[in-house]
Symmetry: C3
Subunit: 139 residues, 3 copies
Amino acid sequence: MWQQKEISLSQLSRGFHIITDQVIKQIPEIINISKGLLHIFIKHTSASLTINESADPTVRHDFETYFNKTVPDNAPEYLHKSEGPDDMPAHLKSSILGSSISIPILDGELNLGTWQSIYLCEHRNYGGNRKLVLSIQGE
Amino acid sequence: MWQQKEISLSQLSRGFHIITDQVIKQIPEIINISKGLLHIFIKHTSASLTINESADPTVRHDFETYFNKTVPDNAPEYLHKSEGPDDMPAHLKSSILGSSISIPILDGELNLGTWQSIYLCEHRNYGGNRKLVLSIQGE
Amino acid sequence: MWQQKEISLSQLSRGFHIITDQVIKQIPEIINISKGLLHIFIKHTSASLTINESADPTVRHDFETYFNKTVPDNAPEYLHKSEGPDDMPAHLKSSILGSSISIPILDGELNLGTWQSIYLCEHRNYGGNRKLVLSIQGE
């Protein structure tokens, strides 16, 4: 069984956001899958996807602090400046974190660990809507 | 063909560990797959998976040194401190390295490069057992 | 439907290179896939794969600058020095960026975002040929 759909998320503020429920709401088909995989792909080069802890919002805050420190806006060595000071660091963060994740499906549900959630990592100040492709496969 | 199973690895010390043989031992089914993929997912937010070199143990040592320097314990800017000084850096390292890997299967075997092995990256001082989901698909 | 093939790319200079067209040329089979996934795996521990922006070559230049600064050659703390000063940083960059990517296939084409391209990230000064495994699945 194969399913694939594209969804659009409304603009989020710069930072790290939990989107697990928004994703699950879009894929009721997984109820019929006993074992499989969900692949999520973001069609952008200045936002990314990762899996991390959902319980304490300070974790997401610390993610933003850490990545802004490690991949600073306005680093003097960047040549690619034409799209604003937050653009080149957004490209770098996107590749460090990655443009896709995949999660096992078991008995009709995502088989995430207790504390795991899906993060949409918005690296631009005004990133606009973000398109995701959800691919479901399994049996 | 789809197979999926969850395995548990006993607690490993903080650092980078090769688990290729432990994984292969759990998936004798791949002998019947001529082309396919193995997907490995770790159900935790403070440990991760990557693929890297197995020949020289100093590589794994340098990984631990590098990530401790780049993502330090006890950074003064972390707000998420309630679970210990090694917890927030563990979350960051987990997302930088990633919670899943996937490897081609060819003619009944993992089609890794000569020097490639599977690393379990344990980012906590006392991380406990770690659960992995192994998904095998192919034909 | 499953297809899998191994291809070899001729030696590229150290840095970040767009290989989207080279990959697409090798997988004419995807014309028959209405929905699926392309998985690309690099069989090396000192080169990696990522997806990022293709329009402005200074982005790729800034990637090389950034990763050389963040993961320096000749860091005094590296123990693994036997294969040259560019070897240990190449292993680290390889795991930060990752050894595989996967991209949705829709109606016979890769379903990439407007600005997304496939990067081969060559982290060695003289890395030689690089082997990739392309796995196509879908229906």
